[in-house]
Amino acid sequence: MSRVAGYGRIDRGRTLTFTFDGRTCTGHPGDTLASALLANGVHLVGTSVQLGRPRGIGAAWTDDPTGLVQIEKPFPEPMLQASVVELTDGLVAHGLDGQGWLAAAPDPARYDRKHTHTDTLVVGAGPAGLLAARSAARAGESVVLVDDRAEPGGTLTGTELLDGRPAREFVADVVAELAGNPQVLHLQRTTAFGHYDDGFVLALERRTDHLGTAAPANRARQRVHRVRALKVVIATGAIERPIVFADNDRPGIMLASAARDFLHRYGVLAGREVVVFTTDDAAYPAAADLAGAGAAVTVADARAQLPASGESRCLAAGVSVLRSTVVTGTEGTDRVRAVLARTPDGAIRIPADLLLVSGGWNPAAHLFSHIKGALAYDPALGAFRPAGTLPGITVIGAANGTFDLPGVLRDGAGAEAPASGPEPAGAPTKILWRTEGDRSRQFVDIQRDATVADIERAVGAGMRSVEHVKRYTTIGTAHDQGKTSGVLASGITAELLGNDIAEMGTTTFRPPYTPVAFAALAGRERGTLFDPERITALEPWHLARGAVFEDVGQWKRPRYYPYAGEDMDAAVLRECAAVRGGVGILDGSTLGKIDVQGPDSAVFLDRLYTNMMSTLKVGRVRYGVLCHNDGMVFDDGTVLRLAENRFLVTTTTGGAAPVLEWMEEWLQTEWPQLRVHLASVTEQWSVFPVAGPRSRAVIGEVFPDVDVTNEAFPFMSWQDTTLDGVPVRLARISFSGELAWEVNVGSWYAPALWKRLLAAGERYGITPYGTETMHVLRAEKGYPIIGQDTDGTVTPHDLGMSWVVSKKKEDFVGKRSFSRPENHNPLRKQLVSLLPTDRRTRLPEGSQIVERRDDGRLPEPPVPMLGHVTSSYRSAALGRPFALALVRNGRARVGDLVHVPVDGVLVEAEIGETVLVDPEGARRDG
């Protein structure tokens, strides 16, 4: 055990048991998996992804590029850093050999999100962030303070004095003051992982994992906080920078600050024989502290000039200090055994079981960079720090390159900053990216197994930008996103190219700062809550009837109603035959409906529809087509004139929202003088087409007050009536070519009326039919579905609907485009039918159409395409499959034979007119 008494903030009174790689170990509440492993003497965690080299724990927090584990229990999770996994009783983990694996079982946990608006958001509860939050709260601002670690205080070890008392006491006082302020929300274990425009920050709160089995069952495991702040204070600290040398990836090599963190936070002494390789002063406290805890420590400082105070403190603690000494390599297999170094007097070998590295510090300015805050190279730091300002954004403390404690405190609290011990005079940091050695064993991004030799190769291949080098070498693309390797890669690339690193720059930081599970981002929006589901008032009836549903946008629509043992083909053939031979009923409630009111309604619709709507008489219905300015059809539907100044416009199911928005656009931006108001009534009205030769009998029986003769109730007219006092609107509209009424009723009464219609139709064999049958019936009549038979390049003329384009109106949207030369090109694709001559094959929708080949074989490409199949079905009425298709010059080629490649075989088909059933239109009047 490497646990040392008198150190750490773990709860030694309680013992937790966990399993790592099959071995049972113990730890304490407050441990991470990494600290517990080190306490148990486990340094080898796994092997690397490309080279299979042994890897251990490289850092104490999210910056660790190695130390990856797979959690098995309580819930399987791949590729987590041992340093961030909080230890719980019963935890089962494996070290990763290469890659992790996703759980096969669904994640049973809950995830949610919360929106918060605040005056000030402070990210980071180290000394700077805590004081900034206190200052803002004292000024009366609402404050959100988030910090990613389990407890506040940042990297304060507890050995510092603030306001004359131990730092942890001072931290506790500030936290208590914040907790007593109702305007302050303080969240630990909460990582601000993305910073976006206008003070928008996403933060992930980990709410249950650390509680183990004590976690309340209903608490969301993780929560994404969506914080909108007027001011954002970035106090995210800094990340220690390693130095690259040969075999710098062995277990037992870690950042100097990490070893200090393991000691003061967890009471773990990560090694007994310690070498500290440094180029700056920050490693000296680590060296002295580890020596004080019982380790034998040697400092190898690359600098000739050493910090006087650091050196004397080390000497007092029994630490030997070598100046002008650099580490050039290591020995050992599963753990470092010796350190190879070069002193002014020559090469030496120092036995060691722990090698600490400190090459200076990189400000963790990621959240500043996310919103395009500029970073500039600071040669004194050997790092990139925020340069320039962004409105509402402040970067303070180490994140801004302020590394001395008094400076950090001043950044956070200004004049209210607490006193701290005097900062000893230091020596300037030496900027050293790497030492001499075998470049193919000098690891820059340890997780990616990417070395100096790889950068050399990238540069040799002509890469000059760090962004290109990153993508060529994969440096900085692992789970840690280059927290320790990014600046090194810039520095080494600059060195190899002989460039100035200040001009090279660094790669762009992008969200997320640390990995975020998709489950957390999805929150509650998964499964049935993934997207809103829209259902009609008849949903329970459809379900009880065994309907098979299909998605139409967000709507759930019955596609067909199979009998026992029926497949879709059989059910649809039966439903089609029932409509053409008797009577069927469809739930058409999803049809888009727009109530158009106002004195200028008729003028307005005349300007939008290709045909004339102002001449429509009250009580009548007209079919209309809508085009964009380019003359291409984008929606269609019927228009009912309800009154002189009122129309009910229907749209396709999918077009309901776009058409309304488009109409509003014209009304508001182009013709604001028109007195017209638009309202969606899609959900207010349920619609049931009752179609087939027996529909007259059914409608006549259910609505005895209505005269349903053709004379009194002609095709394309509507009438209002009532049933038991409930208003009902009937309309003679047919999308099947059959005699039909559309029955409209307020959705509240829809189930009752639906059942009345079924009861009345029972003796005529009334058959509920779904969207598939609706599609077949309309296709047999050549009625296009906009969006299926059209694709935004099809005019009304291409659809064979010149009759719907007014020649009288001076203008309407799209009219001018119809006279463009391309619209008169005889080779435009036109809607036709296709009848496979084998009378068997249903041509797959989307199939390409080619000229017929006498030899029945597809020639070598390129093969000119004549068009494609847009709709294809089996037809009960025709007794054979048929299709609709867009074919070049199609209407002039009716009767021609073409070929359609299907699964490598050419299927012969004959081009026909679009209307295949009842071309005379005799059936629509019964």
Binding site: Y196, E661, E664, Q668, T669, E670, D811, R816
Partner: protein, 102 residues
């Protein structure tokens, strides 16, 4: 995610809005009188400046009102929003037709 100031509703999140293209492209007085080229110019061609650009937006999941915005295409920043037909607020940097890219 930006906050967009709807002239009717105030600042709302970007996802509530739909983009509507360049503003102030008036529907021609008499389309029939235009040449094919002139009509195509109206239907298909829009400016693409680097810098402030006057656009139409719709508060699609809010009040459903269309409004105009001046937005800097280099930074995406909204410099101003205003009601259609309303006074154009000063933005400090006027849309520059010289910056329209070829």
């Amino acid at each position: 995610m930006q906050l967009i100031h709807c002239p009717w509703c105030g600042p709302r999140e970007e996802v509530e809005f739909h983009y509507g293209g360049q503003a102030d492209v008036a529907y021609p007085e008499n389309p029939a009188a235009l040449s094919d080229e002139e009509w195509a110019e109206f239907v298909f061609y829009r400016d693409n400046p680097k810098g402030p650009f006057t656009e139409r937006w719709s508060h699609a999941t809010g009040c459903r009102r269309w409004f105009n915005a001046v937005r800097d295409t280099r930074t995406y920043e909204f410099l101003a929003t205003y009601r259609i037909g309303g006074p154009v607020p000063a933005t400090g940097s006027e849309p520059s037709q010289q910056e329209v890219s070829a």
